[in-house]
Point group: C2
Chain length 413, copies 2
Amino acid sequence: MPPNSVRVTCTAPVNIAVVKYWGKRDETLILPTNSSLSGTIDKGSMQSKTTITASQSLAHDEMFLNDKPVKLENDKRIYTVVKQLRARAQDVKDSNGRVVLRKEEWGTFKLSIVSHNNFPTAAGLASSASGLACLTSALAALFNAKEKFTGEFSMIARQGSGSACRSLFGGFVKWNMGTKADGSDSMAVQVAPASHWPDMRVLILVCGAGPKKVPSTRGMAQTVATSDLLNYRLSHVVPKRMQLMEQAILDKDFPTFGDLTMKDSNQFHAVCLDTAPPIFYMNESSKRIVNLVHAYNDMVGSISAAYTFDAGPNAVIYVPEKHMNALLGLALHYFSPIHHKGHANAQDFMLDKMNLTKLRPASYESAVNAAHVKQFGDRVTADSGVHQIIVSKLGAGPEITEKATSFGGASKM
Amino acid sequence: MPPNSVRVTCTAPVNIAVVKYWGKRDETLILPTNSSLSGTIDKGSMQSKTTITASQSLAHDEMFLNDKPVKLENDKRIYTVVKQLRARAQDVKDSNGRVVLRKEEWGTFKLSIVSHNNFPTAAGLASSASGLACLTSALAALFNAKEKFTGEFSMIARQGSGSACRSLFGGFVKWNMGTKADGSDSMAVQVAPASHWPDMRVLILVCGAGPKKVPSTRGMAQTVATSDLLNYRLSHVVPKRMQLMEQAILDKDFPTFGDLTMKDSNQFHAVCLDTAPPIFYMNESSKRIVNLVHAYNDMVGSISAAYTFDAGPNAVIYVPEKHMNALLGLALHYFSPIHHKGHANAQDFMLDKMNLTKLRPASYESAVNAAHVKQFGDRVTADSGVHQIIVSKLGAGPEITEKATSFGGASKM
């Protein structure tokens, strides 16, 4: 007799591209017009968390995202992921290897999917990548599905949300665009795990208050349809940049990594501006952060921090640990409401779940010495447009945190 | 006996490009990396005015720009223009055709050059084009120099400030980039006089308050050195766009003219963003104006107004006369301090030296009907970041307003 219910909980990370994905060649299969490469952000800072309960007592599949119901039948992309993993359902065995649910029996189970993003409310950071990666991984665990080849689940996640395919792996991940019409060669692979570059840090400056943004699905389609410059980016710039970026990561060559990261972010926003009508994602605070990072690199004499902006105004700064304190100090000095309203709320403002002990006020305040302020005074305007700062690092891919099979009232695994 | 002094006064117009000049292939001769095309703005709205007095009693050449002394010897570009026209000096004759100054005598005359721009103080609009066009035309008149071929003086003005070559003509003007290393085929020619398209109007929204801008000479050099996308713009986009733009002007085809104008402005700012480090010229007010114009065109159902932004945040909007009142009404509604602070200072805010009588408050206020406000409410945020509005039209090239030869105490011509 099959169990009453099977329950799985999974967490999955956000990823931040350093070679940007912008443009689809197939809207249904979500096949991109270029390859892309990203860093996976530590789930300790931000994550999606999904619990799926499969039960025979449910009348139909249901889903809740951040406590709001989602009509699964109307969301083709989410439903594609559900259908594809359901079709791969296998027997479920208990820890003794005994089959407790035969794959034929899955047909009588409906799903209740409950998903949350724990991002700071004001962040406005992209959640579809982590959300769809989480759904894919949770469904695979629930249905006990196995990949027939490496990257098969990444291909499924891709059909839920393009960049979700990159959130299936930790560290640095590339999404090979592929060339086949059916998308069977368009999937993500890991370039290097987080442990490969242990002193890489990620500083996120949230400055999301601004005009309503163009959703990326619509923005991409407009760029593909109208930008002349995109063609050149796709044919001449990205292929070379992907190679150089991968090599810079393998070599842990920060100056090259940082230079390419900033150039690719700027070029992505350039093709958005070359779109008709033009799309603007960066705001005045974003520009000030750009200026701060270039001023910092000029002062240090080499590229020691690199900003990147997705389809919104928030800055993500990749920075080696040894430059973190100085850069954070400057960011707090120029952008935080702490600077403008006194230091009372430094802890609230700065979300540092990673190494708050290392980043004591004393250390970042000492970083803001008179010389820095003098040097940057002309180039960076103090501004409280940054609402929150998150200190993070690279991390691992999705993780199954719970799998329980319930017979009657009891649960066991 | 030669006269004591010869005095010439000249006025010259600003021009606003619809296919943008951005990039030099020769910094000294000021040879561009692409051809460009502009409209010449009526001198009634904005102009440079230069008076040159040649006198034997001056110890050396001197120049004052907006009442501040300019060291001529240190400004190579200005001095190049002076030297080239001095070398072309001819006999000066009176109205009876009698020679009053033989060209050999010019060697004993020094110049006092006094130049003013009458632009609204806050405008921050480019003045080097009108200023150098004015200097060139004034010197030519002073020295009684004649062009050996059409465009010779445009080539001289070009060496003072690239886009100045286009301010030597009225209406629509193209600057053919040329291919020769010595620049002898890089000059401006008129595409059509202002009278060709009599209902074309120009609305200038001044919103210049913002971070310090990168000077265009430096910005261009950085773009040429670092932008990958610029290459594609130069080789694939501009040549085709120049042809289409010229034809649209000859056909008075506003939808095509406007579409190309907006696309070229956005692409210029896109290559600025693709520069390392990136250059930002547009600010939040600029973006709101972009959104307003697209919203207006969507409402009308065809392209009926077209924005363009030079190396700064100010918007110049080309608009047929029949759409001027509606657009001006919307601009006043959304952007003017009048809207935010009551209607007391409408006349001060709006500089309309052209047809203020036609643009009575009643007509532009009626344009802002409830339907417009409702339709645009989601896309345009009211903002007082626009400091001044100038209503203008196309106009003629430089004009000699005074030429006087003084013998002893008396002047005559």
